[in-house]
Each structure stands twice: as C-alpha cells, then as structure tokens.
C-alpha cells in the first residue's frame, strides 16, 4: 500500500471511528451504571438524525438566507436535545420499572424499545420505511494535503467527536455529577447510602449518552446523507463491538475501541469487502476469547 493511500484510509478510518466512538460511549456509560446492554441506543442516533432532518427542512423552507454554519450549530443542538430526550424517555418509561427485576427482562425490554422505535418511525406516514436524502447543512469543501484528500465533513466528524469526548471526560472526572456517576457504577447501594440520588444520576447518564448518540446521528447523516428508520442497526452493532473491544463500562476504552474499530474496518474493506463486513464481529470474538474484559477493562475475579 502506498503511503498516500495509507494516510487516506487512516483519515477515512478516523472519521468512521469518531462516529463509532460517540455511539460506543453511550453503550458503555449505560452498561457501566445499570449493567444493561441498551439495544435501543442505536435508534437514538436515528431519532437524532430525523429530528435534524425535519428541523433543517423546516428552516430551509422558511428562508434560504441562513448561513450554513448557523444552521449546522442549530441542527447540532436539535440533535443533542432529541437524542437526550428520547434516551431519557425510554429510561423513564421502559427501563425504570425493571430496575430491580431480573436483568434479562430489562435486556428483552431494550430489544422491545429498539423494535418499537424502528417500526414506529417506519409506520408514521410522514416518515415511512424508505430512504430520505439528508439536506446539505454545510457545503462540502475538499482540499488536498500532501496528496491526501480531505473534506470539511471529515474534519468536522473527527473534531466534533474529540471535543465532545473532552467535554465528557471533564464531566466524568471533574464535576460532582461525574463523581456520582462513578460512585453509582461502582456500587449502587453504597452510593445510595452516601446520599447520592441514584435515579437522578442514571437519568443524567441516559441524557448524556442519548445526546452523544444524537451527535453521532447528525454526523452520520452529514457523512452518508441518506437516512431511514433502520439506519442505526449496523453502526449500533459495530459501536457495541467497539465498546466491548475497549472494555465495556470503561469510558476511555469506548473512545479507543471506536477509533480502532473504524480504522480496522476501513483497512479491511479496502483489502476485501467481505472482510470489511465481518471484521467487527471477528474482532469481537477474538477479544472475548483472549481478553473478555476488553483492552482497558479490569479483570473481575469470580466470587463464590
């Protein structure tokens, strides 16, 4: 492989990885705090993308004079809010009643929520199951650096993902709410005894995770401008693999896993398309056989 191709693919991989990492963060945070694989998480991304779609279409019918950057920022806010709201709504209505019930019931419920969101959006007459073209929020601008083609969407994907990750790291490590989150994920009962409002902390985690999924939704819709109710399934599964690769429940692990998986997938696809399709799951199996706790996860010893 030539060096320019290598760097070209690296950039493509980072772009894909940024989206995976944003989704993986939501999986890993929810798993870390309530030990639930939230299968509906991938659909929060779809909800975010559709919210931006309707918002942007509405604004663009009112006026064409709006500067693209303002439109993008407004769209991003819509995506964050929509993702956060749908995540908290599903937490409040579906997961909260099952908090102290067998964990597998919550898992089945998560599948139910995921199916509900997909089929509900596909059934709504003004959405439907078919593809929709996502409007250009920003005009694509390409430029060449040392033989490698870049465009503003790629840089935006990577840049925004990194900004959001830094923000998240700050929240988790430096604020009281972050401290509460870490405490609840370590021991829910002890945290409650220390006066932490566990339910409020869980709500907060769902809000943040959903907002990140919404951000991933707008970025994905801008990168691949085709949205449909099932758009979240495949990236969701792969982001989930990324979360496992980094160590599920571990926040830096999800970021690392997301980028690694994106890069691996792009290189594998350029080698062979079948390999690209299957590499995520192959990585998953290998990780779980060799190091089930993931790259950055801590090994949990079994208590008898």
């Amino acid at each position: 492989m030539e060096l320019t191709t290598f760097f070209q693919q690296l950039i493509n991989g980072l772009q894909l990885g940024a989206i995976y990492a944003l989704i993986a963060l939501g999986y890993t945070m929810v798993y870390g705090i309530i030990r639930l694989i939230n299968f509906a998480h991938a659909d929060f991304l779809m909800v975010g993308a559709f919210a931006v779609y309707f918002f942007a279409s509405f604004i663009l019918t009112l006026t064409n004079a709006i500067p693209p950057i303002i439109l993008f920022i407004l769209g991003l806010i819509v995506a964050l809010v929509a993702g956060a709201l749908i995540a908290e709504l599903s937490n409040r209505l579906a997961y909260k009643p099952l908090r102290y019930k067998p964990r597998l019931s919550a898992l089945i419920t998560a599948v139910g929520v995921s199916m509900f969101l997909e089929y509900f959006f596909a059934s709504l007459p003004f959405i439907g199951p078919s593809f929709r073209a996502f409007p250009d929020l920003l005009k694509p601008v390409s430029f060449v650096v040392g033989g490698v083609y870049l465009n503003n969407i790629q840089l935006l994907d990577i840049g925004l993902a990194i900004v959001l990750m830094i923000l998240l790291t700050f929240i988790v490590n430096r604020t009281m709410m972050g401290k509460a989150m870490r405490a609840v994920s370590q021991d829910k009962d002890a945290a409650k005894l220390m006066g932490i409002n566990v339910e409020r902390t869980i709500t907060f985690v769902f809000l943040i995770g959903g907002a990140l999924a919404g951000a991933a939704g707008i970025l994905m819709a801008m990168t691949y401008p085709r949205i449909y109710p099932n758009m979240g399934i495949l990236p969701g599964l792969k982001a989930f693999v990324a979360a496992v690769l980094g160590g599920i429940g571990n926040i830096p692990g999800a970021m690392l896993g997301g980028f690694l998986l994106g890069i691996a997938e792009i290189y594998a696809t350029s080698y062979n398309s079948l390999l690209g399709e299957g590499i995520a799951f192959a990585i998953l199996i290998i990780v779980l056989l060799v190091r089930p706790q993931g790259l950055l996860g801590e090994k949990q010893s079994e208590k008898v």
């Binding site: 579906a94 597998l104 599948v111 139910g112 998953l284 779980l288």
Partner: protein, 328 residues
C-alpha cells in the same frame, strides 16, 4: 387407571398431540381452517421447535444465547442446498421424497450442531452478558458468510427450494422435538444442566462435568434449531440471509421469555399465542381500526415491553406444573 395415567406423562402428551393433530386435520379438510391459517399453524409449530430448543440453552442450562437463528440458518441452507441438488437428479420414484427430506433435515441439524459445538467452546469461558455478546457476534458472522457465498445465492437468497414441509411432517417433527427435549430435561443429564444453571461452581464441586453439559446444551439446541430452519426453508421455499439476522433471533428469544424462561410448556404456548397474535389477530385488528398493516410490529413491540414490565418472569413461571412429573 388414574395412577397409570399420571405415571405415563409421555403417553399423555402423545394422546394430546394426536388429538390436536386429528382436530386440526378435520378443521382443515372441513374448510374451517383455510390455507393461510394452516401456514400460520405451521409457522407456530416451527416456532415451537425453535423456542423449546433455545429454552434448553437459555432456560435449562442458563447460558444466555441470543444468536439462535444463526443455527437455524445453517440448518435451512444445508437442508435447502441438499434438496435443491437432489431434486435436479432424475428420480424414477424409487426413493421416497419424504425419506429424502428427513435425510436433508437431519443433515441440516447436524450442520447446525457442529456450529453449535464451535459456539459452545467460548461458552466455557464466558457467562452472562459476555456470552450474549459472543453468540450475537457468531449469529451475525454466520449471516455475513451466507451473504457472501455465491453458491447459495448470496444476498439473493437460496431460491427454488422444493415445497416439502407438509403439515404432517412439521407436526411430527415438533412432537418428536418436544418429547426428546422433555425426556432430556427430566433425565439425569437434564438435572445436571439445571444444576449448571443454578450454580456452576457448586455443580462442579459435586462432580458434574459442567464443561461437557454446557457444550452439549449448545449442540442439542443447535441441532433442533437446524431442523426448525430446514422446515421453515421448505415451507416458504426460500432461505434468505435477512430472515436469519439479529432481529429474527430476538423474535425467538421473545417467545422464550414471554413464555417464561425455563418452562417448556411456556415456550410452546407462547409460540402459538405470539405467532397467531402477530400474523393473524393484529393484522385483523388493524384492518378493523383502519390502520395500515405496518403498525403490526409497533403494537407487537409495545406489548412486549408492557408484558416485560408487568410480568418479567413471563407468562408461565419457571416450574410450570404440566411438565413436571407429579410423583417422584
């Protein structure tokens, strides 16, 4: 007489099965059950096979597996390829088609069982969520591989499978599956599997080879899933990679959990109730309400969430009376 009746649960189950068969056949030939309803009943029976075999892995042995349709896909493709190839050969009628079909189904089951053994290996090291993730990944890998093998149609699916799954064959296969699984569960091997579910460490300490039973649960569960897949492929005359994805596996899982995990009776009842609900009652209800048929799955998933919230242990709790011998 009463005592004999109680002591022969197999006989009792068989009599119920034969009665049900005669009833359905009478209704079908009397024209009360039309062809569409008969197809729904056939699908119900196939779901019984899929759900009870998944229940052996998830409910009895306590290994949380979510890629069950992956096994069914192997069975469907092996059996489907076999019959489509054999049907191209000249046949003077000396070989019974039913016999050939049974051979195809068993081959499909064996293929699925081999895959099941492969998947059972990581199950030795993993548990709970991690095992769920691995089985999910394996299911997706099987689907991806099928999607890329051109000899079996790739993304177009395997077309032109002969319509061999008659009601009788499906019914007999279902009854045989349920009886074998029932015998297994109440044999000493089944008890050993239950002990793995209850406490694998304690089971190890009393000398049960937990490794062996975990792999066997996967092998047997996958075998019957393969049979179910083969029957399904020969019923709808098509095997397509999208039928065997992540969601298809979850539909089987939902049957097991709504029925009550660990209860075979629950799985059987839920397979009937849910399939009839999804394929017959909901479309009828929607038509009456003036909504499109696409709302079917919306209501179905809502029902699932509601059942899980208000009855997380499923419709039939684990120790359903029907399957348990009364005096032992």
């Amino acid at each position: 007489m009463k005592k004999v009746w109680r002591n022969l649960p197999t006989l009792r189950l068989l009599i119920y099965a034969v009665a049900l068969y005669i009833l359905l056949m009478l209704l079908s030939s009397g024209g009360i059950l039309n062809d569409y309803l008969m197809i729904i009943i056939n699908i119900c029976l196939i779901y019984v096979i899929l759900a009870t075999s998944l229940n052996l892995i998830n409910g009895i042995t306590g290994l949380f597996s979510v890629g069950h349709m992956g096994f069914a896909a192997v069975g469907a493709y092996v059996a489907g390829t076999f019959t489509t190839l054999v049907w191209k050969l000249p046949n003077d009628g000396s070989v019974s088609t039913t016999l050939l079909f049974i051979v195809a189904l068993v081959l499909g089951g064996i293929g699925a069982a081999i895959v099941g053994a492969l998947i059972g290996m990581p199950a030795l090291r993993l548990k709970g969520d991690y095992l769920a993730i691995v089985t999910l990944g394996f299911g997706e890998i099987i689907r991806t591989i099928i999607n890329n093998i051109d000899a079996v149609g790739g993304p177009r699916g395997l077309l032109g499978i002969p319509a061999l799954s008659s009601f009788t064959i499906i019914f007999v296969a279902t009854v045989v599956t349920v009886l074998i699984l029932r015998y297994l569960v109440y044999s000493s091997h089944g008890r050993a599997m239950i002990s793995v579910r209850e406490d694998a460490t304690a089971a190890d300490l009393v000398g049960i080879n937990t490794t062996k039973y975990k792999v066997w649960a996967f092998v047997i569960g996958a075998f019957f899933a393969g049979i179910g897949g083969g029957l399904l492929a020969h019923l709808i005359q098509l095997a397509h990679p999208t039928q065997y994805g992540f969601y298809a596996s979850f539909l089987v899982l939902i049957v097991v959990y709504i029925g009550g995990v660990g209860s075979m009776t629950g799985s059987i009842l839920a397979a009937f109730v849910l399939t009839i609900l999804e394929k017959y009652l909901l479309p009828m209800l929607l038509q009456w309400a003036g909504l499109g048929v696409e709302w079917r799955m919306v209501i179905y998933s809502l029902l699932l969430i509601i059942v899980m919230i208000y009855r997380p242990e499923g419709l039939m709790p684990r120790e359903a009376k029907f399957m348990i011998p009364e005096d032992h």
